[in-house]
């Protein structure tokens, strides 16, 4: 299984123009730990909404690459959004689920993926163009390639170790995160 911090760090190395929407909790901390960036729309709430925010962004900016990075609990709470993305077929959207099969923020209770719920099967059934599970650090380079040039919609289920890592807390003011993101997007 993957080390979550190393994996996310690898994905966001030399990220170029990527627009990144991490889900609340550990995913937001992982993306912050990889290096603060104005084109990160950090979520501190809106559980279940990460993939849909990324869809709205991907539809608005079809010339840019958009990456949603939710946890498994986030995707479970908005499972229908995979169907909505499947209907809309955004070519520039990749969803990378950081799946530790547990609810890290609330005390590591097991999630449905602990019991075998399979996001890759769900995504393919919803019409995603590609969906794959990754478990080894050697696969991170291929996932990074998909972020930049894979034809979406793509779902990557990244099996990460269920471990507690130190929190890295980014900007928390919602207006500030939004305004900074929009200013950076319009500057390029």
């Amino acid at each position: 299984m993957l080390d979550r911090r190393d994996f996310v760090q690898h994905l966001l190395t030399d990220r170029g123009d990527l627009l990144v929407v991490p889900g609340l909790g550990s995913a937001t901390y992982d993306v912050a730990a990889a290096g603060d960036h104005p084109l990160n729309f950090y979520l501190w709430g809106a559980m279940g909404g990460t993939a849909m925010i990324a869809l709205g962004l991907a539809l608005a900016r079809p010339e840019r690459r958009v990456v949603a990075i939710p946890g498994d609990g986030d995707i479970l709470m908005g499972l229908g959004s995979l169907a909505t993305i499947g209907v809309k077929q955004p070519k520039n959207l990749v969803v990378v689920v950081l799946d530790n099969a547990h609810y890290g923020e609330t005390g590591m209770q097991p999630s449905h993926t602990s019991a075998g719920v399979d996001f890759v099967a769900v995504a393919l059934a919803c019409g995603f163009r590609k969906a794959l599970t990754v478990t080894r650090s050697e696969e991170a380079a291929e996932v990074r390639r998909l972020l930049h040039s894979g034809e979406g919609p793509i779902l990557v289920n990244a099996k990460i170790k269920p471990e507690d890592v130190p929190r890295v807390l980014p900007l928390r003011d919602g207006h500030a995160i939004k305004d900074r993101f929009i200013a950076a997007l319009n500057a390029r």
């Binding site: 627009l19 709205g56 962004l57 908005g78």
Partner: protein
Amino acid sequence: MHSPADLTTSWPDTIHAHFRRVGVRQVGYVPDAGHSLLIALCQDDPQIADVVLTTEEEGVGLVAGAALGGQRAALLMQSSGVGNCVNMFSLLRNCGFGCIVLITMRGEFGEFNPWQVPMGTITEEVLRLSGFLTYRIETADAVDEVVGAGCDMAFNGNLQVAILLSQRLIGPKQWTR
């Protein structure tokens, strides 16, 4: 300020014209009888990406993402859908995303199904508590002015605006058997 209402156009045409006027580019909806004509107008409009949702809550995220990307978005839902959105509405208020929501009312005037009544009777209060400015339309001749003003407030001021289209306006659901 607003395009004058043509008395020969229907209220969904009037709403769609305001979407065009203010540059709404994404419209999220769950299929709905009351909104069916407006949904069809959006689907046929090459300027608008129509996004069919599995639950109204998804639309709140859609609006936020569209705004991050520089596009204005609207949501169409039934009053029951408002209840599906409550926690997700935090996203709009907390970050200041402008949003216009058109809500077809159930559970009020002429409603035959009592199961619609509990949500229908609290819809406007729920929206207010969630940070929305709310406006209610009872008759077709008010649609142009109210929807026009609502769109302007939403997108000029990054406010969350909800317009309730009363069951008297849209007509009670027709059951043939």
